[in-house]
Structures are given as structure tokens and as C-alpha cells.
Amino acid sequence: MDKLTEFTQRFKWIIIILSILLTGFFGYELTNIKLNSNVIDSLPANDSIVSLFKDIGKQFGGNEIGMVIIKSDNVFKPAVLKDVRKVTKTVGQIKGVSSVTSLTNILNFDGAGNNFQVNPLINMARLPHTQKGIDSLKQNVVSNKMYRGNLVSADGSSCIVVFKFSSGSDNSAVVKKVKAAIKKLHVHEKIFYAGGPFVTAMVAEIISKDLLFLIPITFLVISIILYLSFHSLQGVVLPMLTAGMAIIWALGCMSLMGLDMSMVSNNIPIILMAVGSAYTIHVLNRINQCREKDYRKAVRKALGHIFIPVSLAALTTMIGFMSFIFGAYLKMIRDFGLITAMGTFFAALLSLFFIPALLSVLRKKPKRKKAKKEVKSYLNDYILNPLTKLVLKHPKYILSAWIILILISLTGVFSIRRSVNVSDYFEKSNPIHVAEKIMNNKFGGTRPVFLEFTGNIQSPAVLKTMQKAQIYLRKSPSITSTQSIADIIIKLNGALSGKYKIPDSEAAIGQLWFLLDGNENISQLVSEDLDKGIIVAKFDGKGNHAAADFAKYMKPFLKQNSRPGCKIQMTGMPFINAEMDQSLLESQIASLIIATIFVIGIVSLILGSFSKGLITSIPIAVTVVILFGSMGLTNIPLNMGTVLVASIAMGIGIDYSIHFITHFSNGLKTGLSVPEAITATMKMSGKAILINFSSVAGGFLVLVFSKLVPMQYFGMLVALSMLTSSLGALSLLPVILTIRNKNRSETV
């Protein structure tokens, strides 16, 4: 240890210059970081359902569809239809939009005698002006299943303008252009936007706003807490400098590794600010407590004491984050775990090398103001001393209180719900949330199920199986509508021959294809080589098991009808959501197991005793129970934000118990009795724990202002976990230590 501290002193300039250079380098790299708010990109590529879903999205352009929802009391009123036409025309003229379909431009084909009529569904030149005419038009359109639930709601109150993004276009730029152009139209109806690119753009917008808005607030909150704790500028600047540099290094590495900023990783700066500043706080605190007049000696002595606890604290926190690398289903969560763990490592490294080196150069001990004493007294007088008395005089009360809390929490643990729905990411007032609601209520949802048929799509046998599948699909209560090339072939055949069925000869189908070839909308249902076709079914199943039940319903059909020359595979968002839902639970369990094993193992190793390791882990175990209990009781779901909390809480919260038990053991070793050791520990470590809790919890609580709901819950729950783990370390742990050491002379 002496060698390390000697090294820091000897090479202080090299350490400082190297740190500054690295900050400059990573800062430059940071500017290349990319934002990717698309959840689909984060799904594991090796999962068969996911890979089929991605293939279908790519081949049939399903992920490149935008929808403008136009809401009115009756969309068939002439004024509304004129606005729908305006929107359709405007969207169609935007660069990056390759095709637009709405009630006002879709063509309807029909046959009468020797005529084959392809007319606009609604004749915009002769719109009805009487109520009777409007009602008749509405009846005519909504009675057609090709349009009802696809372009217009069954009640006629909403319609959608569907458009396809051009291949290779910048979707987020197109989204902006579409919104701006429609805004300029000043239509009288309510307008909402739905579809993957709009959701992705909204998430990206929120991420950017959160980054700009929340980071300064976090900075301010933690700075205020630090100033109130240390009452010195150095006590604020140095921890924030460490955290800032660690953030730059971590995000610079993220960019270098080619990882994108996601809706989870956008919180890395906030988390690192809260976590990363803590290590410098410990270092400064220890230096302040050294009474050596020679400042360099004080730094050296303080480092000797603090090196292992800070390393240990960083290691356990890193384990908490790293548990996601091995336990998480989504790539964005694994990336988050990796980068936050690296950031934690950098923060510890900077606290133990850069800060002491900097202090040696400054050669100035932070001024202790009178106010600090006041804070110290305040914390001691109002919190720590009464708590110490309570712990020593009424351990049973404390134990009982914790047991009651645990029992209450246990009642909530089993009622935790899980949520992976995209609309749940947004606040209820968010337009995307409202649009999703309209799509769910009026257009059969936004979660399509795809049945992919591989074979000759012009073969009557394949098309007839497709038609059969659609009939079977529609019998399921979870399916609101289906669409495929088979529908179009039947309609075309009907118009030309009067027979509304799939033609029996491949030649007839081939000739019907003459009318379809090259049609942009057909490319959403059939591959270019005509070897693949899809049924798009709208899924509206409710509850966590709906997708599984539906998959069970489809299984015998797929088994009976999938054959060589007509292979049928099924995928879709409901199944991916179901997998994500299941994976949330599995990720949670996996990351918790990983974190528990490593945290207990490392703590046991460092403290030299497995029993000590176990005892140290009790407060954090209780914290996890209370965390899950609170989630269950307050109906906060396990989602991609809250799934992170338990492992992070374990990684950070264990530090409080480590500090406490280390100080307590040292106290016993120096000959103090158990009550004396507890009193001394409460005085010394208690204050550090409370300051650390305040800054970490304060930092995380800023996430309450995030516009992404999972992140709001994440911030609240981490803060709650910090509260319970610090309180656990300051009340439950001393009680357990008192009981355990009651009749023993040796330590623990």
C-alpha cells in the first residue's frame, strides 16, 4: 500500500497530465457517439422469433411505416375528407416518403359485365353534402373489411393516412418534416402520429432532452449536498471533477467500442455522477480527518486507510452493473451494464490516483469551516446519536420494526406486474401514448402478428393455404383483422371473372399478377422474388399470457399446414413482448444471483470471513425485499428501467454495510467493547454513510423529471433502496452485530 501511495506522490505530474490527456482524447471520441432509440435493434439476433421478425421488417418494410391519425366526430363529413386529402397530398410530397395511402386516394377495383373498374374509393369531386349521403358513404366504406380497422375506424370517428418511408432515407428527418408540414396545414381535426419511426423519434427526442435537462440538475443537486456536507469549494469541485472525468472516459470508450446511446444508457452520466463522486468524497473525508501538518504525509496516510475500502466499494458496485452483461436479454441493458461498470472503475481509479496527485500538487488541505462542525453536530445530534441510543437500548424494537417492514413487503413481492409495452414508456399525456391508445381501441392495436409463407406465392395451393390461415386466425379472439395477398387475388379474380375465390390455375394467378406487379403496396405482402408472402394479423390479446395462449392456438394449424413447398412460420411483436416479459424476470433473477454471489464472495474475502460476508449482506438483502415489496404494493411494474434497480442497489448499497462492519471490527480490535465500537462506528462511518446516501439518492431522484416512465421509476426506486440500505447499515446491522457479539470476546 505504501508503494502505491509513494507511486502516486512520485509520479503525480505524470498522473495529472495523463489524466488530462485521456480526458481530452475521450472527450473527442465522445462527440462521435450515436443515438439509437430503436428497441428492435436491441433484441438478441440469435433468437429465432426475433430474427424472423427482423427479416420480415427488412424484407416487407414493416418497420418503415408511419401513420397519421386524424380524429374527428365523423371523418366522412366533406370538410374532414378534404383535410384528409390535404394531409395525404402533403405527406406524399415530402422527400423520403415513397407512398401514401388514405381514404382519399385509395383505389377500389370492381367488375361489372365487361368492365373492370378501378376507381377511387371516395370520389372527392362529388362528396356528399346531406346527412343521408354522408351516412351512406360511411356505411359503404366501413362495411368493407379491407378498409375498416385499417384505414378507418369502425365508428367512422378516426382515419389514418399510412405512408412508407423511402428506402435509405433518414427516418427521423422525415418524421420531423411530416410533422412540420402537417402543422402548417392548420387542419381542424386532432392529429396524432404512430408507427415505429415516430416512436423511435419520440424516444430519441426524450433522450436528448433528458440528457440536456437532467445532467445539470443532477450536477446542481449533488453539488448542493456536497457543499452542505463539506462546506468547502474543494469538497464540491473535486468529487464532481472525478465524476465528470469518469463520465467522459466511460462515454468515450462507449463511442470507441461502437456502442450506441440508448434509452437506458442515457442515464449513465447521471448514475456515474451520483456513484462516481462518492469515492472522492471518501478520499477527501479521510484526508480531512488526518491530523498531520505535512499535507503530503496526510494524503499518504489517508490513502493507506482508504485504498482498500474504496476499491472494495467500487468493485461491488461494478459487480452490480456487470451482472447485466451476463443476465440481460436486451443488448441496450448489457451495454449499459458494461459502460457503467467501466465508469465506476474509472471513477475509483481517478479518486485513488488523480485526486491525491492533484492534492499533492495543490499542497493545501481543504479549509474546514465552522459550518462543517455544525453539520456534523446536526447529523450527530438529530440523527446519529438518537439512533445509536435506540440501537443500544432497544435493539428488539429495531429488529421488530424491520421484521414488520419485511413482512409487509413480502405481501407485495408476489404481486409485481411486468410491463414491456412501448406505450408504457411514455407519460399518459404524451402524444405517442395517446396515439397508441387510439390505435389499440380503433384500429386493432399496433402489435402485428406475421405468418410468413415460404413457397411459390403464385401457386394456388399456397394462396389457398394462406386464405385458410386467415380464416383460422380470425376465429381467434386475439385477432382483430388480417391482410394478405390472397385477399387481393380473390378480389381481383372476383372483379374479372365474378368468382370470389383463389383461381385454380397458376396461369390465371400469373395473369392477375400483371395488374399487381410493381405495386408498392404489394411489396409489403409479397417478396420481390415471389417466394415469400406474409399475413399481417392485428393482435389485440390482453394480459401477459395472451401471446402464449395465441401461440398455443396456432400450433396445431401450423403443424398441419406447414409442408415442403409451403413452409409457415409465425412471429410478431406480441411474441417478442412475451419473450421480453419472461426475460425481465429471468434477467432480474440472473443478475441478482450473479450480484449476490460475487458481492458476498468478495466481501467475505476482503473481510476474511464468510460469516462476516453474510452478515454484511443482510441489510442489502432486506433492501431488495423492501424494493420488490414496494413495487408490488405501489403497482410499479418491472420494466426495462426498474429491472436494473435491485442489482445496482446491491452494488452500491453494500458499501454502507462494508464501511460499518470494517470500522466496527477495527474498533473491537483496538479493545473497545461492543457498545463502544458501535457508538464510535456510528459517529465516524455513520456520517459518511448519511452524506453518501444523500448525494447518491439526490442524484438518482433527479430522474423523476425524466420524460420516460421507466426512468422515473428507476430513479425513485434506487433512491428508496439507498435509503433502506443506509438505514439498514445504521440500525439493523448494529443490532445484529450486538446480538452476535453479546457473549463473545472475539470480534464480529
Binding site: K95, G111, S166, L512, G518
Partner: protein, 240 residues
């Protein structure tokens, strides 16, 4: 008083003359037969779909296509008549059907060429022109459509200086962005210059259509009776 002529007027006058000469050049073709190969190219995937047909055309506005390839579409015929009337014959469905909506039934509707792109353009009647540029071999004209419901803001057309046929047409949408670009190569049949190959690229769809004419015969004196609905049905099936 000295008479002066404004350069703008001169330019407009010259440009209008060029358009009239372009129309006159197009009018040298009274009728045409050809074997046509149509390649539809997906510029993103590089995949090419080919159609082949025999073309009969009588200016203006009478066109008969009989498709020979792909095999699944062999025998299909389309007949376009003045006034946007199109008849479609599909062997598997018997009698020809009258199509009421030309944009979705014309032989070129699946390609990047619109029906207007393929028919007589009536340059002088439909466009106001200004000369943008002149070089040794071509004029570059800026054409503004006269139609109130125009689809394009403008067309930039490169016109052959010697023979007054368009070599390149760039289409700008109403926002002023390039959306399509056509190029034409010509060959002389007898004394008349006619399109040998034509290409049209649609940038927003990343799609190109290339039309290759061969075995071109011009001004053979085709009659109106060659462009009747009956002619759509192959001779061997007419009696059935």
C-alpha cells in the same frame, strides 16, 4: 427610333421554336411496330424483372401491346385508345375488359414511365420554355408545365441540337427536388430518328425502368382497324 429586341424575348422565342421543332420531330413518326424489352430494376437489391412485348402504335394515342414474356403473362394484351380508354385481355379470363382507370391499367403503369412519358408530349402546347444553356450538340431547356394541376415544378430537358429530340429529362417535384430522370438513345430507322433505348430512374423509389426497342418499323400505314378490341384477342382464339 431604333428598334430593340429584349434578350429575354429572344430567348423565349428561341425556346418556343425549339419546342415546336421537338413536336415536329416527334410528328415524323406516324406509326410504329417494335419488339420491346422492359427491364424493371430495383436499384437497392439490384434485382431485374424483365417483360417482353410486341408493340403496335399509331400516333397519336393508339397503342397495342401483346406480352410474350414472362411465360406466366404471355398472351396478355393491352390496347390504349384516345381519351384514356384501355382494354385488357388476359387469356385465362376470356373476353377483353374495359379498364376504367388508366393509371392502374396501362402497360407502363408498373414501370417508372407514366403513360404521358411514353406518348406524344405536345411540348409546345404543354410547356413554357427558357434556354438555360447551349453547347455544341445540345440545348438545355427549363420547361414549366402550363397545367394548373401540374405534377412537376419544372423539367430540365437536354435537346439534340441537330435533330431536336430529347436526350435527357430531369423531373423536379413541386418542392423543387429531383424525383425522376430519363435518358434516351436514338437510332435512325430509314430517315427517321426514333428511340432505341429509354431509361427512367425514380429516385424516391430507388427504381429504374429501361425500355429497349428492337426490330423497329416506322410509318407502315397502320390502320385504325388494327387497334380494335377484337385485335387484342389472338387470331386463333377469336372464333372461340
Amino acid at each position: 427610333m431604333v428598334l430593340s429586341i429584349s434578350p429575354v424575348f429572344l430567348n423565349a422565342q428561341n425556346a418556343a421554336d425549339i419546342l415546336q421543332k421537338m413536336d415536329a420531330q416527334a410528328a415524323t413518326i406516324k406509326d410504329k411496330t417494335a419488339d420491346v424489352v422492359m427491364q424493371m430494376i430495383n436499384n437497392k437489391s439490384g434485382k431485374i424483372k424483365t417483360r417482353k412485348a410486341i408493340l403496335k402504335q399509331k400516333m397519336p394515342y393508339k397503342t397495342l401491346f401483346r406480352f410474350t414474356y414472362p411465360p406466366s403473362q404471355a398472351g396478355i394484351g393491352t390496347l390504349s385508345l384516345p381519351g384514356g380508354v384501355v382494354y385488357l385481355y388476359m387469356p385465362a379470363f376470356g373476353k377483353p375488359k374495359k379498364m376504367s382507370h388508366i393509371a392502374n391499367s396501362g402497360a407502363f403503369s408498373r414501370s417508372d414511365f407514366s403513360t404521358e412519358d411514353m406518348g406524344p408530349r405536345n411540348w409546345a402546347k404543354n410547356y413554357t420554355a427558357t434556354i438555360l444553356n447551349t453547347n455544341d450538340t445540345a440545348y438545355v431547356l427549363n420547361l414549366i408545365p402550363k397545367d394548373q394541376n401540374k405534377k412537376y415544378l419544372k423539367l430540365i430537358v437536354t435537346v439534340n441540337k441537330q435533330h431536336f429530340f430529347p436526350q435527357k429529362v430531369v423531373y423536379y417535384d413541386l418542392q423543387g427536388e429531383i424525383i425522376k430522370e430519363a435518358d434516351y438513345q436514338y437510332a435512325k430507322v430509314g430517315k427517321i430518328w426514333t428511340v432505341k433505348t429509354a431509361g427512367m430512374t425514380n429516385f424516391s423509389k430507388a427504381h429504374t425502368t429501361r425500355i429497349i426497342n428492337s426490330n423497329v418499323k416506322l410509318n407502315q400505314g397502320l390502320k385504325d382497324s388494327d387497334f380494335t378490341v377484337k385485335q387484342l384477342i389472338p387470331a386463333e382464339k377469336r372464333g372461340k
